[in-house]
Symmetry: D2
Subunit: 261 residues, 4 copies
């Protein structure tokens, strides 16, 4: 069965800025979705910030294997309740791919638990992404490195948790470095942060970037049904202990009582 | 210079429950603080939920090296703004030690970004903590394992991120296991989760538990001054790039403009 | 295309011990191979210690996606040169699954770089494997825990490097715990250590164990062609630097000279 | 009590090459030792390859807290038995710091279990080390980045295991990046790899490099007495099980028998 990916686009720059519109006339989300769909093994839809519930209803998320996120100017416009809804689905196993300025999205900061800050410079300089983990599935088919002739610079320190694995590290013409491809697991969900993709450059038309996007969606797909039990902290009654035990000592909770949250 | 530790106590069970009061007549926070102070190299204060601002003013946190947290019944009573204030200090380098039911505290969930759920059973059963990382500083001076004859059971899966290092794993009489000592770094701050400490048992009077608390405070202390820069995402102007570069291509931001958050 | 797995069996206990032979009349490797082949998506062969080159010629390894290893009594009989040959293939991307007493195999110690020691007791006691990482691909389809009524005990501390992820933790009847499922990447190769499988018990006839074996083979498969470049430390000539640079200062090596190894 | 550091020098280039001798007239090991001793809290000795047993007798290693290693041309001249002796001490808790070309030393490859290969270019180009983990103890007191105006380039992929934490990432003038400061724990021992230090440049006279060396020695010191138990895989007799159990089922080993290694 095909993987079901959903690309979420902020869709603001495209409406306001002529440069961005000329690069992405149908919106950045559309170009991103086309890159992901290119091999035919991934079914891709798109939704945008301006849709009801930002396009992220319970029903839509329930049938999404991997969510791909591009946002920048309107991070604060994303509803907190929907951020929690996305987080819950990640914990249950939905994959999540965060692109570029999504380092400051509510959902990424929510899942990382850290500031996710960095340095930046918008000078159209050269970025060279080195593959430091050459057979990680997300790097499949890539050369040793690939270049983006014009990109925004992001510089370290990038205040995120130590990742499971570092896949890419970027070299910038102006003298900085950046961990450009980082993997995480949160609950049952696989998370990938991928640095490139400033709105004023044609990054999502680049073939290597497209390959990374497809690889990342394949890597992030769930390995089983939704882990809905992750939201519960069940009491195990004494008489249902796997190994027979006898209750001892004082206790606070009454039988069958819920724990405190 | 002595390490400056601050023990935060929820201080509710002690007021409401005769069993807890009899075990901890001056409050659980006081017993925890006494254990931490026992070697004389750590200066310890205590504050409680009921203090103004829960005792956690900017001034108090600014002079705290390591915060130790015990909470259970009143997680929701902790003010969100103060949770953010603590998180900010952790990012700057303050150590944080979470005890037992603090797995569901707002501050732990905030920093982990995950549900932090688990199984539980209150039967006074035997817990045996195995040291799986025998020369980790937090395990210094401990035997191969130590036992708590009466404890609440916490069982896996514990929905937290993969830790930097696992220090302890618990065996429970009723058949479960639990990762009982886990280390994390978030921003510049060291974080340690330590499982034991149910309020109806004398856990914080145990000498091995006291040793772990002291070791953990020493391990978690900051290695330098507050990293206040972690809250900023500075723009690096093109003419201040370390390596000279020439601005190219279109850009979105005006010179000196702030980034979007 | 089917995954190509190769099961390596030490094949000594089966020849010497009536109990083992009665449990595994065609050899433990055969039972392991049958479990792996059960779903039809994996092509499985077997080789044994006693084969020429232990069955692990360059040709055989070159066409192996995932090698599964069971050894115990004859670790020292494995030729060092063949251990290096296997390691080289792992670095190039071949998956490797180490079973039970293979914790002391030359190849596991070679790849971990640590003693890989542990406690043990042969008492036919109950082992309960808890899934601590519920949607890790290796745990797909498993219940919360599964039991082996008679197993050898392995106890912590297990002196291996901190893993990428911990998948299983075992509870033992006699009071110990053990990290029973650990993942690593070494070079381009995925490695999984799986604890159960003492030769005097019918462990490899257990359906949950069989499911883990199949999942592990699928998880460990290479994500691309052999990374043969991993064995080289190439000199990048100054005039082929990606960014033009001018050679400066003194140097030790002559142009085109090999580095020191 | 002062930390006891031991600097091991290969001491070959200094004898053969006029450039190296002019930079390090008393040997590279002496300059490295002076940098480590500068604050007075670390007692430093030096030994060299040419000493009996390379200066690394059991007695010397037994009283060493942290061993610092610089080697390049004569990796193969280091005796395998002494490599194993060092490894054993690391497992017991001795810290180990590997400098620059020590990425290909026998002891580093032994402990990592991987090829430890990389790209290189000797062009005296600029290296800029970015601190990506700003309050890691090894980065204490450093600015955001520091530069070495003339260094050898090392480029990714660096075939080492995923580290516990990445402390530094280098930018090179010719277009490459490299993970320049990596931490590991192997057994009870802390390990730090630090990239800079090519013999034809004055790197070990640099004040930031000296600060990193001192920080690293302090970070790597053991947190307790030698963990000699790590070399054993003890049998736990059934009648000494912590929780009483009854032996069941068939068994292979006789009471008191050693396990197979």
């Amino acid at each position: 069965m095909n993987i079901r990916a959903l690309v979420w686009g902020e869709n603001v720059h495209e409406q306001e800025n002529e440069i961005v519109r000329s690069l992405y006339p149908q919106g950045m989300h559309t170009t991103i979705a086309q890159a992901i769909a290119a091999d035919g093994d991934i079914d891709v839809s798109t939704v945008v910030l301006q849709d009801p519930e930002h396009g992220l209803t319970e029903e839509v998320l329930a049938r999404t294997d991997v969510l791909v996120w591009w946002g920048h100017k309107a991070h604060r416009a994303v509803d907190d309740a929907i951020v929690e809804r996305i987080a819950a689905r990640v914990f249950e196993g939905m994959g999540l791919i965060l692109l570029h300025s999504a380092h400051f999205s509510k959902i990424f900061k929510r899942l990382m638990g850290t500031p996710c800050a960095l340095k930046w410079r918008e000078a159209g300089e050269r970025e060279r992404l080195w593959v430091v983990n050459p057979r990680h599935p997300i790097a499949a088919g890539l050369p040793e490195y690939f270049e983006l002739e014009n990109e925004e610079m992001y510089g370290e320190p990038f205040s995120v948790p130590e990742p499971l694995e570092t896949v890419f590290i970027s070299w910038f013409q102006g003298g900085e470095v950046f961990r450009s491809g980082l993997t995480y697991r949160r609950g049952a969900g696989n998370i990938f942060y991928f640095r490139p993709g400033h709105e004023t450059y044609p990054t999502y038309h680049d073939s290597n970037v497209g390959l990374v996007l497809r690889n990342a969606v394949r890597w992030a797909r769930p390995s089983g049904p939704a882990l809905t039990s992750i939201h519960k902290a069940p009491n195990v009654p004494v008489d249902q202990a796997i190994e027979p035990i006898v209750e001892r000592g004082p206790k606070l909770h009454k039988p069958g009582e819920e724990g405190y949250k």
